[in-house]
């Protein structure tokens, strides 16, 4: 699965806690030294909470902080950060890879994992120093927590109260299916569903999700089925000579086509799936939907959490509640988290969401409290309003990455980060710099950067457009090709194979450009490996 994992704060190469100046005799200090215990963690949490709720005006779910070992952290990683996700080999694979990389020192462990649930669960690792624990609490338990609770996408698409209960149900349900229908069949169904996870998301709201009632709903459905069952139906003779095939319009209306949520369509309409397989698809779909806001708010979510932890730790230091040494340790981690190498740096691997997010939040603070003439012209809404937190809370609540960047990225920051737009046409032998951080380029750079975080750049636009009901029941999909970039063929074929297995009949994918010309056609015949006897 290529889900955006739960938010992680990366560990810098190797921070060395511990070596600190001798404890000053200031009674206001929350702690001295590097070791932590429950009392200090609690003290830190209370001090942080005072600042977060009092001074920053954050609004959070109740917090639950869980202490785990590094091995458990790896465990949690493997199952996309969820503590009780169902069992599947791919999680074992991720664990094996993460572990190998961790052992070889190629990758540091995250300091924390935070779960969008109520109570909001943050994991902290026992190996970390108390300064790091304070940082994690400020970052996850208040920064991310506030974002989860207030951002409109999370409010619309996730159910923080219900998620843990739902995962419980999902795990038990899939375990039961494995018992009843065999591990292999369940595994294959899950494989197919996972391949379509990114195409299993509703993009536009339909109804409020209520995960708590999911388990009940499934039971009720089974009960109704049981009650309605009548063996007589089996003996009713089938109608001879079906009506002439309805026209395309009618058929598509009947099937609610086109449909971009492939998992949803297959769950509802695939003719040959067993009821439990539909439920499995549904579970995977819900998990994908639960994570979809995180994929769309990476920059904002991290920016929010990083800004919050920076404000809080700085405030704690100002108040004399943490020592200079602890503050230096914090700054060391903080700066390595928000480090953004230039494009020509060997360490460059795209824009660091922490760096961009944090810089934008600081920029908003600057514009609200100390704007220049340019800022006033660009952001008349809040420039000079004096209340940075109000502006930030408003942004955190009402935007996702794409709209946030489009709305808030300032010329000042573009100059500071020296952003420029590079145009790469495969027919040309050169890259073109089509906009830079100057008067003519600001808007274009901003638009392009925002577009990078849009749905359409995250996932290719693939829809189910038709089913050949009259003929061989072939399922027809369309990929709306943007800018001439086709799908990676090998993977696309493998995924189509999964689609065909779920659908039960052949699958055909057209890759069409804007004008409707077909650039490529992929056909995959169905295999019957998913059909139970």
């Amino acid at each position: 699965m290529t889900l955006a994992p739960v938010e992680r704060l990366k560990q810098p190469e190797r921070s060395k806690p511990g070596e600190k100046a001798p404890p000053p005799d200031d009674a206001r200090l929350l702690y001295t030294g590097a070791d932590w215990d429950y009392d200090t963690v609690k003290r830190c949490h209370d001090a942080i909470q005072e600042i977060a709720l009092g001074e920053l005006g954050l609004d959070v779910y109740p917090n639950q902080i869980e202490v785990i070992t590094s091995e458990q952290m790896l465990d949690a990683y493997a199952s996309i950060g969820m503590p009780l996700l169902y069992r599947h080999w791919s999680f074992g694979k991720h664990f094996a890879r993460d572990e190998a990389m961790y052992r070889r020192g190629m990758r540091g462990l995250a300091y924390e994992i935070v779960i969008n649930s109520s109570p909001c669960i943050s994991y902290i690792m026992e190996e970390n120093s108390i300064t790091m624990q304070a940082l994690v609490i400020a970052h996850a338990a208040f920064g991310h927590n506030h974002f989860f609770k207030n951002n409109y996408l999370f409010q619309q698409w996730t159910d923080a109260e219900g998620i843990l209960g739902y995962l419980d149900f999902a795990k038990a349900y899939i375990a039961r299916c494995e018992e009843r229908y065999g591990q292999q069949l369940v595994e294959r169904t899950l494989d197919a569903a996972h391949a379509l996870m990114n195409q299993g998301i509703h993009r536009y709201p339909r109804r409020r999700l209520d995960l708590q009632s999911e388990a009940r709903r499934e039971q009720e459905r089974q009960e109704v089925q049981r009650q309605l069952y009548n063996d007589l139906w089996r003996t009713v003779p089938t109608k001879k000579g079906l009506k002439a095939p309805s026209d395309e319009e009618r058929r598509r209306a009947l099937l609610d086509l086109p449909e971009e949520n492939l998992l949803y369509f297959l769950e509802k309409k695939a003719p040959r799936l067993a009821p439990w397989q539909r439920e499995v698809l549904r579970i995977v779909r819900h998990v994908a939907q639960y994570f979809s806001p995180q994929r769309q708010t990476k920059v904002m979510n991290e920016g929010c959490a990083t800004y919050v932890h920076y404000r809080i730790m700085t405030r704690l230091h100002e108040l004399g509640r943490i020592s200079d040494g602890a503050y230096m340790e914090f700054l060391h981690s903080h700066t390595s988290v928000v480090f953004q190498p230039s494009f020509d740096d060997p360490r460059y691997s795209g824009i660091n969401p922490y760096a961009l997010g944090f810089a934008m939040m600081q920029d908003i603070e600057r514009i609200a409290t100390n704007p220049t003439e340019e800022d006033r012209a660009w952001f008349p809404g809040y420039a000079g309003s004096g209340d940075a937190m109000a502006a930030l809370r408003d942004a955190w609540a009402n935007y996702r990455d794409e709209s946030f960047i489009l709305q808030y990225l300032s010329p000042h920051l573009m100059r500071k980060m020296r952003l420029f737009h590079l145009h790469d046409d495969s027919d040309e032998s050169v890259y073109r710099v089509s906009a830079i951080h100057d008067e003519r380029g600001y808007r274009r750079v901003r638009q392009q950067l925002a577009a990078q975080y849009d749905f359409s750049s995250l996932d290719p636009d693939i829809q189910i457009t038709d089913v050949d009901l009259a003929g061989d029941r072939r399922l027809i999909l369309e990929h709306k090709v943007q800018k001439g970039v086709l799908l990676a063929e090998e993977d696309a074929k493998a995924v189509l194979q999964h689609v065909a297995n779920l659908w039960g009949y052949d699958v055909l994918l057209f890759e069409n450009d804007d004008a409707g010309n077909t650039l490529r056609k992929l056909t995959v015949p169905a295999r019957t490996i998913l059909l139970a006897e």
Binding site: R87, H88, S90, F91, G92, S434
Partner: protein, 444 residues
């Protein structure tokens, strides 16, 4: 003020992802097995034992998704760190790049990986490595002396040492006896005493009642004295019974010809074979001892280092080594107590006159004592030989000698190995579950 909860999860059971890991290994088993076999033929066996870094092709374990290809079309990137570019500037594409995206864009999670690398634990590795192998003839597991006794719980007894007292049983018996014999309860007696004390405190209030109560109390005290709280017949002890423990111990004899004709390559092959056998035995037996015997025209027992590394010169008399083995068995490893395995490696040279004696020693003295005896004939590396020169070598002296023994109902096998990649297959052949004679009561 804090509504925060801290939960310590550190003591939660470890390896929550174990089930996932097992599923993953089962899923990728075929590839992993191939990689394990590859690892074992290319690496030092010693390294193999410590688990392994395994790298397998992503074939059966890929997780495909719909994503855009890295090639073709038009791409737009916004990147940081502009130093000298102005709008309209062009940058030459790196040769061969063919319009691929910059940085990591365009290749989503894991899309570009060809090989999947991870670490197998020692257990997992050995499980796969030794899969389908079986030690032949495990039948002999004679009971050793008294020290190999396992004590096992076996119900209760009415006699025993105080440390084995079973309190629950004892009290249960005591309770039922007290109920059956109507021993007065302490509370009842206390209540009586209290009532008496109350009446005594107000003299003359109800003398008859007082009298009656006193009589009752006296009877009860008497009764409780006659019926003890715990009687010796209540007492129960945990009973333990000795179960003779099978002496699952083995000794492995490594015999090797170290005369001048044995090249480093041959010794290396032999070593690999011995190591494999050792690993295999350690998985089957708790305790495995190894005896190294090297021989030229005379044999001696040596330590491991000398065995593999020092060179000797001299003729070749295989019988001397067998003689030495026989002597050591007699002295230190009584056949009744030990599972004896023999492994011999040689280039096949032997003094012609020694043939009869060697065969006789093996057949009449050693094989009856051994669980299994394997002879591996190591040859020169066929790859390093001039073409047309090697391969169909004639049968060696020792091979001819031993050939008379195989085929009969003896725990004896012989194989030829020329290249290190053949070691593992040959080893598997020797111990393959079906190939070897199975004993009725296998498994240690």
């Amino acid at each position: 003020m804090s509504s925060m909860i801290i939960v310590d999860r550190r003591s939660n059971p470890k390896g929550k992802s174990l089930a996932n890991r097992q599923r993953f290994i089962r899923r990728a088993k075929e590839q992993i097995l191939r990689a394990v076999n590859g690892a074992s033929s290319n690496r030092r066996i010693k390294d193999v034992e410590s688990g392994a870094d395994i790298s397998i092709p992503t074939g059966g374990i890929s997780e495909p998704t719909f994503h855009r290809s890295g090639q073709g079309g038009i791409r737009d990137h916004v990147v940081p760190g502009n130093k000298e570019f102005m709008e309209g500037d062009t940058i030459a594409k790196p040769p061969g790049g063919g319009g691929a995206g910059r940085g990591n864009e365009g290749s989503p999670d894991g899309g570009g990986e060809d090989e999947f690398r991870f670490v197998l634990t020692r257990e997992e590795f050995m499980d796969l490595f030794m899969e389908d192998l079986e030690l032949p003839d495990l039948a002999k597991r004679k009971l050793k002396a008294a020290d190999a006794v396992l004590w096992q719980r076996a119900g209760y007894s009415s006699s025993g040492s105080p440390t084995n007292l079973n309190l629950v049983r004892t009290m249960r018996n005591s309770l039922s006896r007290r109920i059956a014999l109507k021993r007065p309860k302490t509370e009842e007696m206390l209540a009586l005493e209290a009532e008496i004390a109350e009446l005594e405190a107000q003299p003359g209030k109800d003398p008859d009642r007082l009298m009656e109560l006193r009589g009752l109390l006296e009877r009860q005290v008497l009764r409780s004295k006659r019926i003890p709280y715990i009687d010796p017949i209540d007492v129960r002890y945990n009973r333990f019974t000795p179960i003779p423990k099978p002496a699952a111990q083995a000794v492995m004899f490594c015999l090797m010809d170290v005369s001048g004709s044995m090249t480093e390559h041959m010794k290396d092959l032999a070593k690999r074979f011995f190591m494999l056998l050792y690993l295999f035995l350690t998985r089957r037996y708790k305790q495995v001892e190894v005896v190294f015997i090297r021989h030229t025209h005379e044999a001696e027992e040596v330590d491991e280092d000398t065995f593999f590394h020092s060179t000797e010169t001299g003729g070749t008399m295989v019988s001397t080594a067998l003689e030495e083995m026989k002597r050591i068995i007699k002295e230190r490893y009584p056949v009744a107590d030990w599972n004896i395995y023999g492994a011999q490696a040689s280039d096949g040279d032997n003094t012609t006159s020694d043939g009869g004696r060697t065969a006789a020693l093996l057949e009449h003295d050693l094989l009856p004592a051994c669980q299994y005896y394997a002879y591996v004939e190591v040859g020169s590396d066929p790859d390093s030989m001039p073409a047309g020169f090697a391969t169909h070598a004639r049968e060696t002296d020792l091979w001819r000698t031993y050939k008379q023994i195989t085929g009969t109902e003896t725990p004896f096998v012989m194989k030829k190995v020329r290249h290190r990649r053949e070691i593992y297959p040959v080893f598997r052949e020797l111990f393959a579950r079906d190939g070897a004679k199975q004993s009725e009561e296998a498994t240690p």
